[in-house]
């Protein structure tokens, strides 16, 4: 038995050394949402390690004390039915742990599902992130620009991602800024993020979506608001406008490099917002043709009701 425990301990040590070399993406947060999630993860790893250690200690003790080779030949194990107090402890302690973690979990749910902490008073930057096989299209309706496979964001400003898909279900994920959320073709989901620090981050589709899934990634660059504004200005001066026929070509299955356009595809191919409200789909599409994308704040719908 001892061999196994040395093995397990050395495995654990190995894990920690490896984890120590370079911070793991999820545990190296660069925004308040990812920070909250990393805190939850570290808290649960801590509590869970205690449980695992307790179980292992009890098990090791029992295995050493009660193995046959250590006991006299005539030892007859007793018949034990159960003990009320032992059972109360075995039920009570897990209930307390689960209750505490539930409390943390519920609180975190409401935090990650609303504007990032510390950014509540700022006007969020709204970005529509839509996936097609196997690319990401980022539309900035307020700035009137659109990019493919790369994302520029200002730091210290709340970001509100409106996610949907032109194909299979995908999942929009920038590990260092916060957890993922699905993008689906018949509704829009909202993901609240913010970046505390400038830098380059990895973003990807995390949900399997077919042949080109592995390469379905995008680069995220966070920069101060002033730099971001410069970039927007530059795009307006240099990039070509996006047209409907061009966009149709972009969403064909395949891979593309990074691209930049002025205008957004939302103007001629709106996002499926409210698709599951009582309004029928046709009415909805029609009303969207006339919607000014500036008043996105009205679209702050939570999809919990659907």
């Amino acid at each position: 038995m001892r061999k196994k425990w040395t093995l397990l301990t050395s495995m654990m040590a190995f894990v920690f050394i490896l984890a120590g070399c370079e911070p793991l993406l999820v545990l190296d947060p660069k925004g308040p949402q990812a920070q909250r999630q990393a805190n939850d993860i570290m808290l649960s790893i801590g509590i869970m390690s205690v449980i695992v250690i307790v179980v292992m200690v009890i098990l090791t003790f029992i295995l050493f004390k009660y193995r046959e080779s250590k006991l006299p030949d005539d030892y007859e194990p007793p018949h034990i039915h159960g003990n009320k107090w032992v059972e109360i402890v075995c039920v009570g302690v897990p209930i307390l742990i689960v209750a505490y973690l539930s409390f943390v979990s519920v609180k975190s749910n409401y935090i990650v599902e609303s504007a990032p902490e510390g950014y509540e008073n700022q006007e969020p930057l709204v970005i529509y992130a839509s996936s097609s096989d196997w690319k990401w299209h980022f539309s900035y309706p307020e700035e009137g620009i659109e990019t493919v496979n790369y994302l520029y964001i200002p730091t210290d400003r709340p970001l509100e991602f409106k996610l949907y898909s032109h194909g299979p279900i995908t999942s929009f994920w920038i590990p260092q800024l916060g957890g993922q959320k699905y993008a689906m073709s018949d509704m829009v989901t909202t993901l609240h993020l913010a970046a505390d620090a400038a830098g380059e981050f990895m973003g990807r589709n995390a949900n399997f979506s077919g042949k080109g899934f592995a390469e379905n990634t995008f680069n995220v660059t966070a920069m101060p608001q002033a730099d971001f504004d410069d970039w927007v200005k530059e795009v307006h001066e240099t990039a070509k406008p996006i047209t409907e026929s061009e966009f149709e070509k972009l969403i064909e299955p395949g891979h593309l490099g990074q691209m930049t356009f002025t205008g957004t595809h939302l103007e001629f191919s709106p996002a499926p917002e409210h698709a599951h409200n009582e309004v029928s789909d046709e009415d909805n599409n029609e009303s969207h043709e006339h919607t000014n994308h500036e008043d996105h704040t009205e679209d702050e719908t939570d999809h919990s009701g659907h």
């Binding site: 984890a19 793991l24 993860i41 695992v52 039920v91 539930s102």
Partner: protein, 648 residues
Amino acid sequence: MEFLERFAIPHPSPAIYASMVAIALVSIGILAGLTYFKKWGYLWREWLTTVDHKKIGIMYLVSALLMLFRGGADAIMMRAQLSAPDMKLLDAQHYNEIFTTHGVVMIIFMAMPFIFAFMNLIVPLQIGARDVAFPRLNALSFWLFFAGAMLFNISFVIGGSPDAGWTSYFPLAGNDFSESVGTNYYMLAIQISGIGSLMTGINMCTTILKMRAPGMTLMKMPMFTWSAFIANVIIVFAFPVLTVALLMGTTDRLFATNFFTTDNGGMDMLWANFFWIWGHPEVYILILPAFGLYSEIISTFSKRNLYGYSSMVWSMVLISLLSFLVWTHHFFTMGQGALTNSIFSITTMAIAVPTGVKIFNWLFTMWKGKIRFTVPMLYSVAFIPLFTIGGVTGVMLAMSAADYQYHNTMFLVAHFHNTIIPGVVFAMLAGLTFYWPKFFGFILNEKIGKVTFWLLTVGFVLAFFPMYITGLDGQARRMYTYSEATGFGALNMLSFAGAALMAIGFVTIVYNIYYSFKNSSRDIGSDPWDARSLEWATHTPVPEYNFARTPQISSSETFWDSKKNGHELFKGEIEEIHMPNNSGIPFVMGMIFFVAGFSFIFALWVPAVISLIGIFICMAMRSFEKDHGRHISVKEIIETEEKLGGAK
């Protein structure tokens, strides 16, 4: 020519052509062998038409082991492809097919038949019954499973394998994004074997409720029977959901309905919900019988009664109820909002409480015991800490806000393998070693068994623990490749090494069976492990009628009572025994289902309709058949009993 084109493989490779040749050669070899050794009659009389629960159990066992190797071959290819950055072993399409079939084969065609094998072999013996409640239905269940499994396994040589993941989420699995017949195979093969599973569920519930030996109240049932009962109740409630979802998926693909499409009023999220309303209870269908096996094994090799019997039962009942209330945790990231996620986060974590009770009960069963480290016990002892790690990572995943970071990553893959391998696979191997002598008359070699155990345990730790780390480092699951810059290379290589050790471990099981068959002593008596519950009270190997006289039950450990406390297990005279007759109809129906499934997959409507009619004819024949079974005479019973070692 155009007609034949549909059967071609859409993405051929030399490996697939080689497999085609291998399959053809093996099939011809089997057919030729059966003919040469004149075994057709034996095969038909003893196996294809049997309704004996023990033989059906053995057929499930053999199928499960075969499928373990099929699913394992998929696994080792996946780990090899990911062992280094930018590996060129498999392309994206093949990788996608392989992880899809790996998941389906391991859950539906390996783990399910494995637990059905033990339910069939053990439950009637543990409750002192002669067979299950509906022996012929039981045979049909097996042949439907078998038809489904064969159908699924020919997909990669005829028409192409499914490639949308074992969860087969729409719209990816719809016609727009999965054009090949692969997903049709998924829908129909699982449907056919799922119908079989549902029948087993009904059959086993009836057996356990109605056929227990006199004196065996519910709270005197052995723990494995309890776990099997609860698992089958879950089957009865969960499988109809899968049946309906698969039917809707099939009509979407074949008849252009719009249940799961993204336009015309369809809803892709509906599939995800249906799938997991079945899918989550499904994991408890697998794990509860495993818990039952561990309970039997730990108490036998600790020479102690099971600690906290009633809390063991109640915890399983609670787990079965909660298992239906947690499905949303498979897609916390679908955007249901904080309230829904909070509710499902709490129900999910709540499962940790009854599961924790079970872990502590096993620990206290060993406490003050006299522990013998046999191979089945080694698996059980390794199960406790490893499953605890799998369980606590489950609690971590249940924290929905944090799950946004774990979801779809290797962390999740590590978690569910961490529960399924030490939980289910180790239990099946422990059960296999434990019950092998009961059904085959010899003990598997302990030394080779220990080598297997260490290979699998060390291999498991090496293969799956690194995934927790790469998951947290941003490695998404189901990626067929990654770049060097990601830094996932070293840990994935470690995973591959672990997977290779496990592969060697599984091969040693086959070697062990061969070696023990040649060398093991056949003189082992009927109770080689000094066991406690009723299944050990009959002869080894078990006669077809199980018990010559119906046993009288004193407690959940009747056999132990009869050995130690002088409880009289068998009273009265031997009487004539009524047994069911063999029937070829279940086998024939299974084959017709295979043809029907194949026809639907390729939209061949004429054979589809003909085979559906054939199924109804078989059912009608059964309805009008007068078959009252047969009787084994007292003389015959006494002869068998004497031959097997004295009337017990």
